[in-house]
Each structure stands twice: as C-alpha cells, then as structure tokens.
C-alpha cells in the first residue's frame, strides 16, 4: 500500500491524550499563537504528523513547526520553540 503524505497528516485532536499527560489539562481547546505568523489557532485545529519518531505539530496557516514532542525511555522531550504562547482555561480538565 502506498501511504501518501496526506494520509499521515492528522490534527490536534489526535494528540489530546498525550498533551493531557504533559499539561494535566484538556488542551485541544487551548489557543496557541504561532511564532512564525502570529495567527491564533485552537490546538484541535493544528496539523499533526505522527509518522516521525515523535509528534510534529505545524501551524495550519503558515506550516511553521510549532511543537515537537518525543516520549520514550520514561521521559518526555518537548520543543515548543515554534509557538509564541498558549492560552487555556484554568477550569478545564
């Protein structure tokens, strides 16, 4: 079977469980500001690629890599350099 790139592209809903482990909050309703284009998207809207060794999150507007998350060996490795800020409800979760 030929797997096309588009088949491997998901969205932020697919990493809701992983983000919940890290942030202990429901994060798909969080709003992230892209460090590349400064547009704001809900985490549920962002593009997610799960075929890499970890998870790569890209901005749906400009394609900038917003987050990279790798989990393994009992540790998380989190690169958030592509996201300028994250805003979310203190009540969620």
């Amino acid at each position: 079977m030929t797997v096309q790139q588009s088949d491997l592209k998901l969205d932020g809903n697919a990493i809701a469980g992983l983000l919940r482990e890290i942030f202990t909050m429901e994060m798909t309703t969080a709003e992230g500001t892209c460090a590349g284009c400064h547009k704001v998207h809900a985490v549920g809207q962002v593009e997610v690629y799960m075929n890499a060794p970890g998870v790569v999150v890209r901005c749906p507007a400009c394609g900038n890599v917003q987050m990279r998350i790798v989990k393994g060996g009992g540790r998380y490795w989190l690169d958030l350099s592509g996201i300028r800020s994250l805003q979310f409800s203190a009540e969620s979760g």
Partner: protein
C-alpha cells in the same frame, strides 16, 4: 487521567469491518458527545501500543461504547474487531478531547459531515440530541464506500423517521445496490450546497473522516461562504489502526 480496565459487556457487529464494543467501566465520570478514549494493548513481552477511538454512545447512555474499524495491517484494531469477546478486559483512559464536541444546549442548526468511521463521534452527537429530545435542526451527510459499509444504518433510519428535525443523506462512492436513490459520488461543493443549511442560518458544522475528505469538505464549505470559525474538523488516518 489514569488508565483503567473496562469489561466488554457486548459486541455489536456494525458492518463486515466495523464493530462496537460496549464497555462496563467502574470509574467513568461521563463524557461529552465527540470525545474519544485511548485504548492500550500490552503484549506478553511488555510492548505497549495505544490508539484513539471515538466514543459512539450518548453521554446519557448507561454504558460507554466505542466503535472500531478493523485495519488489516493495524496493531490494535484487528484485536478489537475479531478477537475480543464479551467478558474480556480492555485497558483505556478517557474521556479525551474538548475541541470536537457538541452540546445539545447549542441551539444553532447542526450540520454533520462524515466519511466512513468518521461517523462515530457524530453519532454520539445524534444520540445525545435524541436522548434529550432536542429538536435542533440537524443534517447528516455521510459518505460510505458501499451500502454494507454504512455504520449505524438501521438506527439512522429509525431516528430520521421520527420527524424531529433530523435528516440523513447518504452517498456511496464505490458500489450501489439496484434502486439506490442517494448520492453516488465523493462529497463535493454542489452536494454540500444541496444538503447544508443556508449560510445565513449560521450552522455549527462538524466534519470527521479521513484527512483528504475532511480537508476537501472544509475547503468547499469555506469557499461556499460558511464561517470558518463555525467549522470543526477531526481527521483520522492509518495511525488509528
């Protein structure tokens, strides 16, 4: 959010490749329509793998139900659809997600667009609406490969015959039975404009299915003038196996 074991209470064969698992969960705080659970399998050697599956049951239902499509090269779904038996224990955590959810208190007209097993979280919304006797005008446009691949077909027929504001339009993309009166092509802009609410009614729209379908539908809806902010999408792909 901790992992827990649920006991398979019942298996429902929805189509040749899709089954629903009805679970008894000791510690379940309830869910919102559109949320999912993560299921984790552990092999004898300790290898673990997780997949996400949408919840199909209404928040009001007695038991939690997930609906799973078997992907032949998948790691988890061939076990859940084919090997699991009533009484078996399944490890899961949830409910998960909050972006792709609908509450019956939202009184905007509801447009649901599904491809294949993308209908599952939308069915939770339809069942939620029915459980509360909501009259929210609701339209489902549902794309399947063939008639036998239509998930929840009998229940959708029954609910749409109630005359409470739910209508269901099917399209079959590969094969159709003789006398089929529904659509016979992939969802396109013309089909969406026939089925969708007029944009002046400001519907809330949920689209779920394989990535190419979701992106095509969302693009067509925006091109047709619908407010991008009222379109919520959820993509799934082969990593769901």
């Amino acid at each position: 959010m901790r992992w827990q074991f649920g006991t398979v209470h019942e298996l429902v064969r929805e189509t040749p490749r899709v089954s629903s698992l009805v679970l008894d969960a000791a510690d379940w705080s309830g869910h919102l329509a559109g949320q999912h659970v993560d299921v984790r399998l552990t092999a004898d050697d300790g290898y673990q793998t997780e997949r996400s599956y949408s919840i199909g049951s209404a928040p009001e239902a007695m038991r939690l139900e997930i609906t799973v499509e078997r992907l032949d090269d998948g790691e988890v779904s061939p076990y859940l659809v084919g090997e699991v038996r009533p009484g078996d224990k399944i490890e899961f955590r949830g409910p998960i997600g909050g972006y792709f959810v609908w509450k019956a208190s939202d009184d905007r007209p509801l447009l649901l667009v599904a491809g294949g097993s993308g209908v599952v979280p939308l069915m939770a919304m339809i069942r939620h609406r029915a459980a509360l006797r909501s009259m929210t005008p609701t339209r489902l446009l549902y794309s399947s490969r063939s008639e036998e691949d239509i998930i929840y077909r009998a229940e959708l027929e029954r609910l749409s015959a109630l005359g409470d504001g739910l209508t269901v339009a099917h399209t079959l993309t590969r094969s159709r039975p003789p006398g089929w009166s529904g659509y016979t092509r992939r969802i396109d802009r013309a089909m969406l404009e026939e089925v969708a609410w007029p944009k002046v009614q400001n519907p809330i729209i949920f689209v779920c299915g394989p990535t190419p379908l979701v992106e095509g539908v969302a693009r067509n809806l925006v091109d047709a003038g619908f407010d991008a902010a009222s379109i919520k999408t959820e993509r799934f792909g082969p990593t769901g196996g």
